[in-house]
Structures are given as C-alpha cells and as structure tokens.
C-alpha cells in the first residue's frame, strides 16, 4: 500500500516520462495495441479534441522538441522565426511523427498557418488540415461557421478511421472532455488556494501528459492526483503569488517554470497549454440537442480571452490581466513570451498597459523552448518576488490565503 506521497510521486514520474518522451513511444504503444488505430497530431493552441476522439483517433498535442538538438528544422526557417516550428519540422523529418495519420494546424498565427502548407508538401500521405477558428464578434454567424468547420473536420477524420461519426459518439466524447476540463479547473483552483499542494512543476507535467495519453486514462490520473495532493498537501511556502501571461503557444522549458517558483514567485495562474481549458464549463450544458452546435456555442459564448481569438470588447485587453490577478489573488504579473511570438508580443503592450494602470507590479522576459540558461530569469524573478514581499504584499502567502 503506497502512501499519498508515494502515489503522488508515482503520478508525477509517469507524467514526467510522458513529457520527456519526444519519440511519442506512448502513442506508438497505444496504436500498436489494436489494429486499425489512428492518431492525430495537434499544434498549439486549440483544436477541439472531442471531434478527433469521436472520429476514433487519439488526439496528441505536438508541442515542439524542448531542448532537442535541431539539425534539419533550422534549414526550414530564418533566424527571426520562433523556435517551435523548427523543432516540429525536426520531429517530422526525423521520423518521430510517422505514426500520425493526421496533423491539425489551428489558426494560432501565420507561422503555424504556413506550417500546415509545408506539412502538405513534406508528408503528402498524411491528412493535413488548417483549422480556422471563428473570429467574428457576432455569435450566431461565428457559430454557424465553426459548426461547419467541425462537421468538415469530423467527416474527414472519420473517413480515415472508418468510424461512423454519429451524435452518440460525439456526445460521449464531449462528456469525457467535459470531465477533463473540470479536472483541469479543479487543479487550477487547488493551486490558487494552496499553491504548495499543487506545485506548478507537477501541474505542468501532468497537463503535458494529458496532451498525449487517452483522455480516459488522464482523467483517472488527474482524479488520483487531486486526491493524494489533498491528503499530503506539502509544505506551506511564503512566496509572492504571480500570474504568468504569454506562454500559450511555444512552451517554456520546465526548468524555467521551476526557476520562477524557486526564485520566490509562486505561479497561481497561467496560460500554459490553455487549449485544454479554453472553454469554461461543460460543453454539454443542456442547451443544445446537436453536439456540434453545443461545441460551437460553448466556444463562442464561454471561451477564455486569449491572443489567438479576436477581442470584441475594446476594453477587453486592458481588463484581462487585472481580472486574472483578481480571480487568482495574485500579487503581480510575469509576462513571459516566446521570442518572435506575434500573438503574445503584439498583445503585450495592451495587456501590460492594463496591468500597470491597475497598479500591478509586472516584469517581462522572452524565452525559447530550448532556453538552457536560467540565471537571468532567477535574478529577475527573485528581485520581483522580494519587491512584492517587501513593499506590496508583506503579509506573505500564508497570511493572504
């Protein structure tokens, strides 16, 4: 019988192995377990996994190569383009993505958009689709468009797997992902309330595991993690509470997340892997009979505000960060964006102006997924944390919760 601490360690070790698995061995094992199985790779930030799952494929998040050495990928990109696409090309050109029957490229930015066309040329036998998210600010019109896109994608994927994509299958997948979103929400809530119970390093690798394993399996692990972390919440720390903003696409190295927290800044909210919780609340909320309509309505009416979606409210950008800070009870904001990331960097002046107008302390830096030196971040985050604790929120984390 394992103790809660041992069970937590086992879950984190499982998640970390998956996070570090750049050969997608877990996906290959899943595919090999039964003949006729298929997997679809999904680039950041958001493609609804429910559709892929219902069409009989394993949805797998493709989040680049971390610190993997890039040999072929650099030959495809100029120096002023972010790191993610070059490591994705590296994964593809080195055969690591050969097992995927489909690759989906959402409308995150022009780099990922153009990569969809490159993939058509690099892998002509793979189903490739650019997934254009709805951007118009009239919900009905956008819903019709998005419902049509979902139907198109579902039809195409089902044609590959041979699955009959009916409403029952769609609803079943939607409910699984509703459960998954609810668990992510619970994890985030637990971290907001007791950050020492859910350290960001653990939360992050757990969420990364959710990008590659079947949703059913992840839901079980996440439930167990919530259970054991409640039984063994860890040691209370007196850190500054911060929100991390801008890291929604190319992911920072795990070392950077650890560095921020070890320097005295506890992350209490972030936009890392935001695709897994872009929709707030369940898709199946009883309002729609048609599952695709329900998915479209949920995205258009209850999505989180993020750089990849048009902000119809002229005050929305400036309000966003103060709202995140208020919801999470944070003391300050760290703007952390990947170098050359158009969505994050173009948004930053608006978001930062809103934060500063609200009197929130902020720092900003840029990273790449393969950043290997963390000293400058440690110093910056450490100074930031000291400043907050000394001058802004001197009661300390325990006193504030």
């Amino acid at each position: 019988m394992m103790s809660p601490r041992q069970r937590r360690s086992a879950i984190v070790a499982w998640a970390r192995d998956l996070y570090e698995d750049l050969d997608f061995l877990s996906v290959r094992r899943w595919l090999d377990a039964e003949p006729g199985r298929h997997a679809a790779g999904i680039l950041p930030v958001y493609v609804p996994r429910e559709i892929v799952h219902a069409a009989g494929m394993l949805p797998v998040g493709i989040h680049g190569g971390g610190s993997m050495e890039i040999i072929r990928g650099d030959a495809f990109y100029q120096s002023y383009i972010c790191h993610l696409p070059r490591s994705v090309v590296e994964l593809g050109q080195s055969g690591r993505l050969d097992a995927f029957s489909a690759m989906l490229f959402p409308s995150t930015c022009d780099v990922i958009r153009n990569l969809s066309g490159m993939w058509k040329l690099l892998r002509p036998s793979v189903y490739v689709r650019y997934v254009d998210l709805p951007q118009v600010n009239v919900a009905e019109r956008a819903m019709d468009f998005w419902q049509g896109e979902l139907a198109h994608l579902g039809r195409d994927l089902a044609a590959i797997t041979g699955v009959e994509l009916d409403e029952a299958r769609l609803w079943a997948s939607i409910r699984l992902y509703d459960r998954s979103r609810a668990l992510v929400e619970q994890l985030y809530q637990a971290r907001r309330e007791q950050p020492w119970r859910v350290p960001s390093e653990e939360l992050y690798v757990l969420l990364r595991a959710g990008e590659v394993v079947p949703v059913e399996e992840w839901n079980e692990r996440a439930e167990e993690y919530l259970e054991v972390s409640a039984e063994d919440p860890g040691r209370v720390r007196d850190n500054a509470r911060v929100v991390l903003v801008g890291a929604f696409c190319e992911q920072p190295p795990l070392g950077l997340i650890k560095t921020i927290e070890r320097a005295g800044c506890t992350i209490v909210d972030d936009d890392l892997l935001i695709g897994n919780r872009l929709i707030r609340g369940p898709v199946d909320d009883g309002q729609e009979q048609d599952p695709l309509r329900a998915m479209a309505r949920a995205l258009l009416s209850r999505s989180r505000r993020t750089s990849i979606l048009y902000e119809p409210d002229p005050t929305g950008k400036r309000r966003l960060v103060p709202e995140l800070v208020k919801e999470s009870g944070a003391d300050g904001v760290i703007f952390a964006a990947p170098s050359f990331c158009d969505p994050a960097l173009l948004d930053r002046p608006m978001l930062r102006a809103g934060a500063e107008a609200a009197g929130l302390p902020c720092i900003a830096f840029e990273y790449a997924e393969n950043t290997g030196q963390f000293q400058q971040f440690r110093e910056q985050a450490g100074t930031f944390s000291d400043g907050i604790k000394l001058w802004i929120a001197p009661t300390g984390e325990e006193g504030r919760t």
Partner: protein, 432 residues
C-alpha cells in the same frame, strides 16, 4: 530617376486623396481605415466614405525616411523589437501627431473595417489602434485557403458577414442606405481597370520587358490596391499606364530604373516577398545596375491575383467581393503560392528566382526557405535568398545584400556561359 507619365498621374491622384482625407473632419466625409489584402474599396466608396490604409502609410513613411523615428517611438512605448514594423511605424506615426505620408494630417477613423485576410497581425493591429480611437470596429473574417481553394461554405460565410455585419456598419457610420446599383457600377469600373493592369503585367512576357514587375510593379498596383478601385480616376490611370507600356513595347524599350532606361536586360527574374521600402531606390539599383529586370512578382498580388483570371463581377456584387478577398496572395496556402511561382518562372521564361525575406512579416516569410527549394526543384532554375525588412532601416544591410546579389548574378552568368539552364543571351525585340 526619370518619372513616367503614369507615375506623375498617380502622384496627383494620391495627393488629392490625402487632401480629401485631411479635410474630412470639415467636409463631413467619413473615413474608413482598412487593409490592402481583402480591401472593400468599392463597397466603402459606394457609401461615399474614404478608405485609408495603414500599410500604405507605413510603407510611405519608410520610403520618406520617417519610419525609423516612428518605430523608435513605438518601441519606447513598449512594442517589441520582434513584431511587424508596419504596425510600429503606424503606431509611431499616430503618436507623433498622425501626419501622413504627403505631409497632411490624417483624420481619425469613423470606422475600423478589419478585413482579416491572409495576415494574423491585422487583427492585433486594429485591436491596438482601437485603443486610440473612439469609433466602432467591424470584423470581416476571410477564411484561409488551407486546402487550396475558397470553399463554397467559406464564400457564403464571407457574403453573409458582408450583408449582415459590414454593410449595416457602413450604413450606421455614413447615414446612407446600401445602394447595390451603385456598387455594381463601381465593380464594372474595377473590372475595366483590372483588365488594363493585367495587360500591363503580361507585357513582361516580352523581351525586353517594358516593365519591372516588382520595383515598378509596386507603383502600378498603387491605385488599384488602395483608394481608386472602382473609380473613374482609377480607370483613367490604368488606361494611361497601359498605353504607356504598350508604346514602350512597340518601341522595344525597357522600363525606367534608377540606372536609367533598362533596354539591355541581362537577367529576367521572378521575385517573392515584399520589397524593402527604406532603401527602395538603392535596392532597385542593385538589380538594374546588373541589367536584371523583374518579370513577375508575388508581392504585387497581395491586393488581388488578377493575372490568374479574377475580375470583379458586377452581376454578383457581394459574391465577387468574397471571391476577391479569398483570392489575395497571402490567403493562399504554401503549395498554392509555390504553384504560382512555378507558373511565373515558366510563363515569363525567367533566368532566376529570388526571395526577399522580410523580418517582420511572418505571413510571407515563414516557409520561404521551403518555397525556395520547391521552386528550384520544379523549375530547374537557381534561387537566391536575401533578407531585409519592410520599414525598419536597421535591418537593411546594403553591403550584405549587394554582395549576395552580385554573387547570385555571377552564378547566373556562369550558368549561362556553361549553357546550363539558361534562357540564353537576351535579344531585343524577341518574344519567348
């Protein structure tokens, strides 16, 4: 550099347009800010409103040596060094008093018409501008041609947005009702000007080419990509331009360039990517000094791919606007862009293919190294690759670019000498 009559005509047209814009707050004419790709000039003007295009202002700021200071102003205000310099030049200009390229004050917008076509940054650009102006924004989403064509459901989506969002927004701002007959009349004028523009572009198939389709081409597309599509002035300009080019063709003359008239054309090139604007003439001269003429370019298709057959169709006013928006160059997927380039190389019998990769435009630049290899593979002609920027002079390194171009032209010469993949010495008066 000698100016063609059409260039002078265009200069007058643009000056008049900016005078009207400056006077708009007094005359009551409404001003609509929008973008070049997917611009709805006829629709805007059918409501009596005036279009104003921030990219044009930014590039003009670059050509007039003002963008450096504007970009610095924007960066001081917190804009990243790594994002689109058009955006920063525009925002910097606004922060510096909003004096436009012709020296007149630009009016604030009455409407921001965000035609979201082929460029992610457009969305952020107007989210940023919107913070400075107290006016409505209307969003037109133009789906990307991810699968190589504008799907019927996407066309219908655009038409529906035009009918239900954009037109009502224009009605509210201008106080005028939608007049479809007027729109049809303007679309007919557009098609006429487009015919003339295509005749001009196709003239580059001849030897010597009477035009430079990149450096000269950006002048040729000026009126039709900006405020004059669908206007009698636009038609008049393109008639004059066509006449001028046809005369040069008949006389066996090349285009005017910074090195003089380029009759002796040593290299025929296809160019992909926008030009650098801050050292435009210097950049052009690096080509013309070597006797290189650009016979086809993709940048001149960002506001419409007319040479592939598209014409505005007055019989289906909103449908044709949807087709137009969907077909702009950067709304085509990468394989589609490669197909176009390959077709250009073959149809225009190019000796070389060159990419000017600009730092601040991911819509163009991401994937260009793959474009280079694919075009080389499919045409057998060698590609060249240079890097610069749109309007940030810090990223135009004249010595490096000149060095690369000289090496590239030297390589083309050697290939020709060796009889490898060369189009042969250029004979005046011959046709391919």
């Amino acid at each position: 550099m000698n100016k063609d009559r059409s260039m002078l005509l265009q200069k007058e047209m643009i000056a008049r347009h900016f005078d009207r814009l400056e006077a708009a707050p007094q005359t009551g004419e409404k001003v609509v800010y929008t973008f070049v790709p997917g611009n709805l000039t006829e629709l805007i003007r059918s409501f009596g409103a005036l279009p104003l295009l921030p990219e044009i202002n930014a590039l003009q700021s670059g050509m007039r040596g003002k963008s450096r200071a504007y970009i610095a102003e924007a960066e001081k205000a917190g804009h990243s060094a790594d994002v689109c310099t058009y955006v920063k030049a525009d925002i910097g200009m606004m922060m510096s008093g909003n004096i436009g390229p012709t020296g007149t004050r630009l009016p604030p917008p009455d409407l921001l018409l965000l035609s979201y076509t082929g460029c992610y940054t457009f969305m952020k650009w107007f989210e940023l501008l919107r913070e400075q102006y107290d006016c409505p924004t209307v969003f037109l989403q133009v789906p990307y041609q991810g699968d190589g064509s504008l799907l019927p459901e996407h066309r219908e989506y655009i038409v529906r947005q035009l009918r239900e969002d954009v037109i009502p927004a224009l009605e509210r701002v201008t106080g005028r009702p939608y007049d479809e007959d007027k729109l049809r009349e303007m679309l007919a004028l557009s098609a006429k000007a487009e015919d003339d523009l295509v005749a001009v572009l196709h003239a580059a198939k001849q030897r010597p080419s009477p035009i430079d389709s990149y450096f000269g081409g950006v002048y040729y597309i000026g009126p039709i990509f900006s405020a004059f599509r669908g206007t009698p002035e636009g038609v008049e300009y393109y008639e004059a331009l066509r006449e001028e080019v046809e005369q040069r063709l008949a006389d066996g003359e090349g285009p005017e360039t910074p090195s003089g008239r380029l009759d002796d054309q040593q290299f025929r090139l296809v160019v992909e990517g926008p030009p650098n604007w801050t050292s435009f003439n210097e950049f052009w001269q690096m080509f013309s000094d070597e006797g290189a003429v650009v016979v086809a370019s993709t940048y001149t298709k960002v506001g419409g791919t007319y040479d592939f057959g598209f014409r505005h169709d007055p019989s289906d006013p909103l449908g044709t606007l949807a087709d137009y928006c969907g077909g702009c160059y950067t709304n085509h997927n990468l394989p589609g862009r490669i197909d176009m380039l390959v077709q250009y190389v073959k149809e225009y019998q190019a000796d070389g293919f060159l990419i000017n990769s600009v730092k601040s435009c991911n819509s163009f630049s991401a994937g260009q190294l793959m474009i280079l290899r694919e075009v080389e593979k499919r045409t057998g002609i060698p590609g060249g690759f240079i890097e610069s920027d749109l309007v940030d002079p810090r990223y135009f390194s004249a010595a490096n670019i000149k060095n690369r171009l000289e090496s590239y032209f030297q390589m083309l010469r050697e290939r020709r000498r060796a009889g490898v993949g060369a189009a042969g010495p250029v004979q005046q008066g011959s046709t391919p």
